[in-house]
């Protein structure tokens, strides 16, 4: 099956500061080597004091608009997926719409489904394009996630985002098909008014991440008649450096096909940005007619799987600075600066 719609442009934003797992382990008296080996995360991206999910979403969206040479007023829908929207009530999507000068006639909403809200936005834009409601849609996944100080999440919860402009014409990659798998699984949550999430610890592996990622990937391949050997690249949600590698192995993808999209060891888990930044890293180097499998995961729980084929248009598309260029440009900070930047201390 082919849907005849897809990606017209994409952009990413990765905040420039980094804190290493060594530095976090030093503060909490933990063994950094065990953490790094266990989690597969060496450092994570930290947003500046004046960055949040809205600013990250805007920066990623502006890069997508500039690269795709899209007139912002042609964008008919703006969906922002995040679990760290700056307001509980007051949309991020209207801040984005105004900051990119999209005008006032666009469909929009903020989406929330833990780390898969961004890929849900892709599906919404895709279906609106296929139905003829809009010509171009902007779907963004962005987060500035926090783990409680001293919680294992603190090593991985990071910040970043990616924006995709979908359409029907001048595609750089076609979305051939998509499939979702969801169950009610309380593996990770945050209640209203609570600053930090809670999680089910070891429970989050098998019944949550692996079950949903693998079921969605298999469901997509069954539905579209594809096999793992049909894909040149695969990218999965990356809560740590271990889970996506194990999921790939279970499904029959070797390291060669996932390593380029595996960004979590160097920037941490960007939540709603995670699989979308990984996909951007792959699109940065992909060639026409190559096929990519992307599978997101959101706790609570569900996965969205996509089969994407790269079009000829990618060759004339501006892809610099690449995701890996941005990853390499990080500036290291210590735990004291990190605590101040993430407002883990109160100032009067």
């Amino acid at each position: 099956m082919t849907l005849n719609a897809g990606i017209v442009s994409y952009g990413t934003h990765i905040p420039k500061y980094r804190i290493s797992s060594d530095e976090i382990a030093r503060i909490w008296g933990e063994n950094a080597e065990i953490i790094k080996n266990g989690l597969g995360v060496y450092q994570k991206a930290v947003p500046d004091v004046d960055e949040d999910t809205a600013t990250i979403a805007v920066e990623a969206a502006r890069e997508a608009i500039n690269r795709g040479n899209i007139h912002p007023q042609d964008i008919g829908a703006v969906y922002v997926g995040s679990e760290s929207h700056p307001y509980v009530v007051k949309p991020t999507s209207t801040i984005v719409g105004e900051a990119i000068s999209a005008g006032n006639d666009f469909y929009s909403a903020d989406l929330e489904f833990a780390c898969k809200a961004g890929t849900a936005g892709l599906q919404i834009c895709l279906s609106m394009i296929l139905s003829g409601m809009i010509d171009y849609g902007l779907a963004i996944g962005a987060d500035t996630s926090q783990g409680a100080p001293g919680d294992a999440l603190e090593y991985s919860a990071s910040a970043g985002g990616a924006a995709y402009i979908l359409g029907k014409r001048d595609l750089i990659a076609e979305i051939e098909d998509t499939y979702s798998f969801a169950t009610d699984t309380p593996d990770f949550w945050r209640r209203e008014g609570q600053p930090y999430p809670k999680h089910g610890g070891r429970f989050t592996g098998l019944p949550a991440y692996f079950r949903h990622v693998i079921s969605a990937a298999k469901g997509l391949m069954d539905k579209s008649g594809l096999n793992p050997s049909d894909f040149d690249y695969a990218v999965f949600h990356q809560p740590n450096g271990k889970f996506p590698v194990r999921a790939a192995k279970t499904l029959g993808f070797n390291m060669e096909r996932i390593k380029h999209g595996l960004v979590v060891p160097h920037i941490g888990n960007t939540y709603s940005g995670s699989s979308l930044i990984g996909l951007a890293a792959i699109l940065d180097i992909a060639k026409p007619s190559e096929r990519i499998l992307m599978v997101s995961f959101g706790s609570g729980a569900g996965s969205d799987a996509f089969s994407i084929t790269v079009e000829d248009g990618i060759e004339s598309f501006r892809r610099n600075p690449s995701v890996w260029d941005k990853i390499r440009k990080g500036v290291s900070i210590d735990y004291g600066i990190y605590v101040k930047m993430r407002k883990k201390i109160r100032v009067k």
Binding site: K16, V49, V347
Partner: protein
């Protein structure tokens, strides 16, 4: 504070200013009348390009509301598209120099405590940084 900011959102969120078609001058913040042409002015709204260069700057070491970012830099930036604007430049005081290329970014300006509105707007960063 809220209504005053809200009405200017369009011009703070992006580099939206005005341009006089009669004499070719551009203005930021936007003006309704060109001071040069007065009654002959022919004002249009314009979105300026993303980049410019620093023509002057100050490093501010103390301020009531900027404890989280001290010291910070206020720069006069000549946009490639004409007007000179005053803006915060987000970089270390060791990095800044006159003539350096900068580009716009979307950042938080501040917020009204923990329950109030969040103010966003345009700041600048060195052009080669992501």
């Amino acid at each position: 504070m809220l209504p005053r900011f809200w009405r200017k959102i369009k011009y703070r969120y992006d580099l939206v200013g005005s341009y006089c078609e009669n004499c070719g001058r551009s203005f930021y913040p936007p003006r309704n009348v060109c001071p040069n042409c007065r009654r002959k002015s022919n004002i249009r709204e314009i979105r300026f390009g993303d980049c410019g260069k620093v023509i002057s700057y100050s490093v501010v070491h103390d301020s009531e509301n900027t404890r989280m970012r001290k010291p910070y830099i206020v720069a006069m930036i000549k946009l490639d598209d004409g007007p000179v604007i005053t803006s915060q430049l987000v970089c270390s005081p060791d990095e800044v120099q006159t003539g350096m290329r900068v580009r716009k970014v979307f950042r938080k300006y501040g917020e009204e405590g923990e329950s109030g509105i969040i103010y966003y707007g345009t700041k600048f960063v060195p052009a080669d940084s992501e």
